[in-house]
């Protein structure tokens, strides 16, 4: 009996400790988020966490209260949680064992303190004293050594529509940075994939409900439900913290403060902590912007500010409202650069070096890419593990567009001495450079991709989208994207959601030459590996009695077919625009008239960005020689310049 009372008391104390976590806005919070602000999402999974940061050990002790709403028709009796820091606990994890994960080249001679892990020491279901049983499972690759997915068996199943309240005590230890997660020198800590996080209970394509909770494998990112996060972190007062959502600070004692983060309707929570970051704060409409950067990067902090505010402006205009009240941008110090180039809800990381030239605009392009992810992965929270093209490809496409709107169409990425490269031309080039036979379909699950991941998932998708934009017209394309955004924001859309909308939109476009052949084009572009190269085989002009018979022979290499325009210019200055549906491998066009052909060009407006070689798209009856002379002269100049400087020394 005494034992029973004691246990009951322990239980009461245990739960009280969690209730003390409920929001207390008595601190000096600058947060303008209200905890009961009207819900933007279904708020299926919600977290309240209280953490003690042990900065010397790169560790947190945490208590987490997860509330989860069962939106399936099933009674759910087991939970699955991402425990991704365990991917960095030893070299047997699925992430590290085959050498493909970022940082898996740095596993040799790693001291014990450079590995990381996350452990749940206690898990309780509401009102049940007995701790829940936990075990690691490997649903993705069956690797028994992998500990990145934790299964918890509930005492009581959660009925359809009911809410589960789960209490966890956990401990997370950062590794020296792997991928983006971990610590670096000078107490820099980037907390990513760091807490026990619930997977997504969903209906798969066959109509079966279950947990979609993959192990952490190379090239994987996020998948989660939208919800609220409230995170209280006990950390040194003089440190700079930043992360998802808004942040308030209340002083606890001489040396430590409680940093209080609130993020609503987001799919994840990531944060950075360092004693050496500077902060700039700005306001854009309702959005409070925080920029964190090391002092050596102060010279280009304005570039981060310009990119982020321009991005907000642009995406709001062309895709949809940015519904959050904060955005935090981290420009990591170089010793923490491995944490850079990544997107988290309302928090993004770029990357730069001291004295990075203003003419090389990678600082801007990185910020804009990661910012575009606020729409594609965060608001439209697709499964980044299974269909990464839906976020990486779309973010790259908008990165290209915003860069060109902000910095000019021709020179948005690079502009040194008038040699300019636009962001989208660079993106297309990555796709064009994929070696033949070394590719996978865009629609492949990210861990199964063996070809060049970035070129396939990012660049090919973005080039595909740009091609669609060119064929559909920007206005119609933007209208479609707005519909896609409005229909699926704050949910987990799938590739088919987008593709169905795309197919349907194309069917309504009577004047679009792509429309009649759109289905086959889309299927091959997304689920196939073919490329296309349209070219002019030859042009024959036979003249008799002042009338010329012209034969234009066109060809397509590769099995990705798309209708193309063919522009014919005649000597009398008349232009003719013809259309070839591009479906056969070869095609002949016959024309006749009183004038000779001056030039023929397939796709004169470069609408089909998927064409891997534009140089063979045209034919000129009298090709000029000056262009060749110009570059021959230029190279001769360089050669002479180098040799006559060396002559001094020889």
């Amino acid at each position: 009996m005494v034992l029973l009372i004691l246990r009951a008391m322990r239980l009461i104390i245990f739960f009280m400790s969690f209730f003390s976590l409920l929001p207390s806005f008595a601190d000096t919070s600058t947060c303008r988020e209200k905890s009961d602000a009207h819900a933007l999402s279904l708020r299926t999974t919600n977290y309240v966490m209280e953490l003690d940061l042990d900065e010397s050990k790169h560790q947190v002790q945490g208590k987490s209260t997860i509330t989860w709403v069962n939106r399936s028709p099933d009674a759910v009796s087991t939970l699955r949680l991402y425990m991704y820091l365990n991917a960095f606990s030893n070299r047997k994890s699925s992430y590290l064992r085959n050498g493909r994960g970022i940082g898996s080249d740095q596993v040799d001679d790693r001291p014990a303190e450079d590995w990381g892990w996350v452990k749940v020491s206690q898990a309780h279901q509401e009102k049940v004293e007995e701790p829940l049983k936990q075990s690691y499972v490997s649903p993705t690759d069956g690797n028994p050594e992998d500990q990145t997915v934790l299964e918890i068996a509930l005492w009581e199943p959660v009925d359809a529509g009911d809410t589960l309240r789960l209490e966890l005590e956990f401990e997370s230890k950062l590794p020296r940075i792997f991928g983006r997660s971990g610590f670096a020198e000078f107490s820099f800590m980037h907390w990513v994939h760091w807490y026990p996080k619930l997977g997504v209970y969903e209906e798969d394509l066959d109509g079966t409900w279950g947990w979609n909770c993959h192990q952490f494998l190379p090239q994987m990112e996020f998948y989660g439900n939208h919800g609220n996060y409230e995170v209280l972190i006990n950390a040194p007062s003089h440190w700079t913290l930043g992360g998802s959502g808004c942040m308030g600070v209340s002083v606890l004692d001489d040396s430590r403060s409680r940093f209080h983060f609130v993020a609503h309707d987001v799919i994840d929570f990531a944060w950075v902590a360092s004693p050496h970051l500077q902060v700039i704060e700005e306001q854009w409409n309702d959005v409070h912007l925080r920029y964190l950067y090391p002092s050596s990067h102060a010279g280009h902090a304005d570039r981060l500010v310009q990119a982020a505010t321009f991005g907000l402006e642009y995406m709001t205009q062309y895709v949809g409202d940015y519904p959050y009240t904060t955005l935090t941008v981290l420009d990591p110090p170089v010793y923490g650069l491995r944490s850079g180039f990544m997107e988290y809800p309302t928090y993004i990381t770029g990357g730069s070096f001291y004295a990075w030239p203003r003419q090389i605009r990678t600082i801007e392009s990185l910020v804009l890419h990661e910012f575009a992810h606020q729409y594609f992965m965060q608001l439209l929270a697709n499964n980044e593990k299974e269909e990464a093209w839906l976020d990486e490809g779309f973010a790259t496409y908008y990165e290209d567009r915003i860069m060109e709107a902000m910095l000019g169409e021709r020179s948005s990425l690079f502009d040194v001495f008038g040699y300019h490269v636009s962001n989208s031309a660079f993106t297309r080039n990555e796709y064009v450079s994929i070696a033949e036979g070394k590719t996978d379909p865009i629609g492949t699950k990210s861990w199964e991709i063996e070809g060049p991941y970035k070129a396939i998932i990012y660049s090919k998708t973005a080039t595909f989208l740009k091609t669609l934009e060119c064929y559909m017209g920007r206005q119609d394309f933007d209208a479609m994207m707005r519909r896609y955004f409005e229909a699926h924001k704050f949910t987990n859309p799938r590739g088919e959601d987008f593709l169905n909308l795309l197919r349907a939109t194309l069917k309504t476009q009577d004047d679009n030459i792509l429309s009649p052949h759109a289905d086959a084009f889309i299927d091959e572009a997304i689920f196939g590996t073919s490329t296309c190269d349209y070219l002019i085989k030859d042009v024959k002009q036979d003249g008799q009695g002042g009338i010329f018979d012209h034969t234009i022979r066109l060809e397509r290499r590769g099995d990705l077919s798309i209708p193309v325009e063919v522009a014919v210019k005649f000597e009398d200055g008349v232009d003719q625009l013809l259309v070839w549906d591009g479906q056969e491998q070869a095609h002949e066009m016959h024309l006749s008239g009183p004038h000779r052909i001056l030039s023929v060009e397939i796709d004169p407006h470069r609408k089909n960005q998927m064409d891997i070689n534009f140089n063979n798209n045209s034919f000129a009856a009298r090709p000029g020689k000056l262009g060749r002379a110009k570059y021959a002269g230029k190279l001769a100049f360089w050669f002479q310049q180098i040799t006559n400087t060396l002559a001094v020394l020889l």
Partner: protein, 279 residues
């Protein structure tokens, strides 16, 4: 003032030698222009891209050409791999002719060729030794920086220091490279008198060599600065140039080259008179 005087002398007395050296440079670079002109015809055939090359720089035209015509570009590299060493060899040999003419106070083509015949291979040997030493020096400096770069990036608190260290090493490397090549030049002058073992004379008379290095510095710096200025000017202007402007600039470059050859010969003259006059 000394350089103005020696330049006057070079363009007055040694005019012919200047012309010979200039022609050597020209026959190295001009055939390349014609070879490239033909090569571009293979790359772009009779497409409209050729016409577009006339205008501003177009990244896509070049990238597609690089991606799709890899075989043709390989032939360009092969061409350069042959032309470049030949050019360097011709220039090294011509310095033998120049020194010989200066030493004999002669301006005859015959003496120029005789100089190449008698000294040419020695000069080539010295140039090769210097190139090897320069390679070793570069390796010594840059292996350190590059092999530690990731360590710097990860363990240095401030990336300014990484940039400054790079700049400092570049300066040290530049001074070392200069000293090496000047020693090479002095060694060549010594060959005029002591026709014996290249190596033996190479390791003697350090004081003279050092003085020559210092004496020569202004003219060498001038030549290199002109080179950098022209390069920057050309880079800054040429991307937007029409073909005619490119050709005009190429002609202008011939004038500059001619002037640089003169400067180079007056520098030889200085180092020769110094080393020969005091040893």
């Amino acid at each position: 003032m000394r350089y103005v005087q020696s330049m006057k002398k070079v363009f007055g007395v040694h005019r012919k030698v200047v012309w010979i050296c200039y022609v050597v440079l020209l026959i190295v670079s001009i055939p390349l222009a014609f070879l490239l002109y033909d090569l571009f015809a293979k790359v772009w055939e009779d497409s409209l891209s050729v016409e577009r090359l006339i205008g501003e720089f177009d990244y896509t035209i070049w990238r597609d050409a690089l991606n799709q015509e890899q075989e043709t570009w390989k032939s360009l590299w092969k061409m350069l791999a042959v032309l470049f060493p030949i050019g360097l060899m011709l220039m090294s040999l011509s310095s033998a002719g120049v020194y010989y003419c200066l030493d004999k106070k002669s301006v005859r083509v015959g003496d120029f060729l005789k100089g190449i015949r008698t000294l040419g291979w020695r000069y080539l040997a010295i140039a090769l030794v210097m190139i090897c030493l320069l390679a070793l020096w570069s390796l010594a400096i840059w292996t350190y920086y590059l092999s530690h770069l990731f360590e710097f990036l990860e363990f240095w608190k401030d990336d300014r220091y990484i940039v400054w260290l790079g700049a400092g090493l570049l300066a040290i490397w530049g001074v070392g490279a200069y000293v090496l090549f000047m020693i090479g030049n002095v060694a060549k002058v010594e060959q005029l008198q002591c026709r014996g073992n290249v190596l033996r004379s190479f390791f003697t008379g350090w004081r003279n060599k050092w003085n020559a290095c210092i004496r020569l510095a202004p003219s060498i710096l001038l030549i290199i600065s002109i080179g950098i200025a022209i390069t920057v000017l050309y880079l800054g202007l040429s991307s937007t140039f029409k073909p005619s402007a490119v050709l005009v600039l190429l002609l202008f470059q011939q004038l500059v080259t001619w002037g640089k050859v003169g400067l180079r010969i007056s520098a030889y003259e200085t180092v020769r008179s110094f080393v020969v006059g005091t040893s």
